[in-house]
């Protein structure tokens, strides 16, 4: 058998038929996954360092001012509610500055604040939700919105608000509900409340 004869045989080989249903379903499955999880890819190509620096500096200035202002006013309070994030005014200012862009405002245990922004302003308007999670050694608090996914200590936690204003947290290894405090949250101590009535 020479090369053209071999190629002729190889090219005659056909593939198993793919059903119309399968051809229809694959694009739908892919798009459903993209809508649920993925950030838009534009950022990778049209990333503007100047714009990013400007936004970053502006955000840092606001956060530093707000956090310092808040800390000065509430220095003597040591309860978890003393978080800068528990301040309706701070959250309100952030939301006004980045409408429909804030996925979360995260505060670490040292009081450092981090803004998690959407590139496209696709975060639906909904009441902000305050959450504080502590494992006894470390704690983290954040303000976010129903349907957002938050990374805490390497774990992805989905935050949801129910119809009665309660808050549900779903992590890789636990589910916690503000209305049923007995839900399995392991060793984590969780505090959550809806800030919506104050801000909306």
């Amino acid at each position: 058998m020479n090369n053209p004869e071999l190629e002729s045989i190889l090219k005659k080989a056909r593939l198993p038929e793919i059903s119309e249903e399968s051809l229809e379903m694959l694009p739908r499955r892919i798009v459903a996954g993209l809508k649920r999880n993925d950030p838009p890819p534009r950022a990778a190509r049209s990333f503007s360092p100047h714009l990013a620096w400007a936004l970053g500096l502006a955000a840092c200035a606001v956060i530093a001012f707000a956090a310092g202002h808040r800390r000065g006013r509430m220095e003597t309070e040591r309860t978890p509610a003393a978080d800068s994030l528990a301040s309706a005014k701070l959250v309100h200012e952030m939301m006004a500055m980045f409408p429909n862009q804030i996925r979360a405002i995260v505060q670490d245990e040292n009081g450092g604040l981090k803004l998690v922004l959407s590139d496209t302003g696709d975060v639906p308007a909904s009441p902000p939700l305050y959450v504080r999670i502590s494992d006894g050694k470390h704690s983290s608090s954040f303000v976010t919105f129903s349907g957002q996914e938050i990374q805490v200590d390497g774990q992805t936690i989905t935050v949801l608000a129910d119809a009665r204003g309660g808050i549900i947290l779903a992590g890789n290894q636990f589910v916690w509900s503000s209305s049923e405090r007995t839900s399995a949250a392991g060793h984590l101590k969780i505090e959550a409340r809806n800030l919506g009535t104050v801000l909306m």
């Binding site: 058998m1 053209p4 002729s8 045989i9 080989a13 694959l26 798009v31 993925d38 890819p41 190509r45």
Partner: protein, 184 residues
């Protein structure tokens, strides 16, 4: 085959965050990508899963698509490399779990679903090739890429592709020698 202008527009719309535009790109190219992943795996289920992974990865990397190559060539590169990674993982798994080795060996039997015996025999022979030789045959013979293009896709030199194609042909000739073929 979509007009290039349409394709560029769909890429632009996808970059703007329009998932339906990306769905249109998937519809246009899914048969080609599924063919590539099937030739590489010999399994319809794995081929579908790899095709899906390839489209998802392509979406995430769409910002890096600069139009230097055709969109289909760029997609094909992603699908081939995912298939090679998949093959490496499968081999490693077979090595670590000897009780599964028999099951993996059975992958060389492409099973049913083929329209005729020749098609089944050819896939069976492709499955017996080392993955990199198989990739070289899939790209140059089925996707009509030049050895230079295939080299770019596989991240190796053109000479390496030529060698892999040569070695693959030798083995395929042995495996398929009993099939009737037209003499030149």
């Amino acid at each position: 085959m979509p007009a290039l202008d349409d394709e560029s527009r769909l890429v632009e719309l996808s970059l703007s965050g329009d998932p339906e535009a990306y769905a249109a790109l998937v519809r246009q190219h899914q048969k080609m990508i599924r063919a590539v992943t099937f030739r590489m795996t010999g399994s319809p289920d794995d081929a579908e899963e790899l095709a899906q992974d390839a489209f998802v990865r392509a979406y995430r990397q769409l910002g890096s698509f600069n139009g230097a190559a055709k969109f289909s060539t760029w997609l094909c590169r992603i699908a081939i490399n995912l298939s090679l990674d998949w093959r490496r993982r499968e081999s490693r798994r077979a090595g670590l779990h000897s009780k599964w080795a028999a099951g993996v060996a059975c992958e060389n039997d492409p099973g049913g679903g083929f329209p005729d015996e020749l098609s089944r025999r050819v896939q069976e022979a492709l499955n017996r090739l080392p993955a990199k030789q198989r990739a070289a045959i899939v790209l140059t013979l089925y996707e009509n890429q030049s050895h230079a293009e295939a080299a770019k896709t596989l991240g190796c030199t053109e000479a390496t592709v030529s060698w892999r194609v040569f070695a693959a042909r030798q083995k395929l000739k042995r495996l398929l020698k009993d099939l009737p073929h037209e003499k030149d």
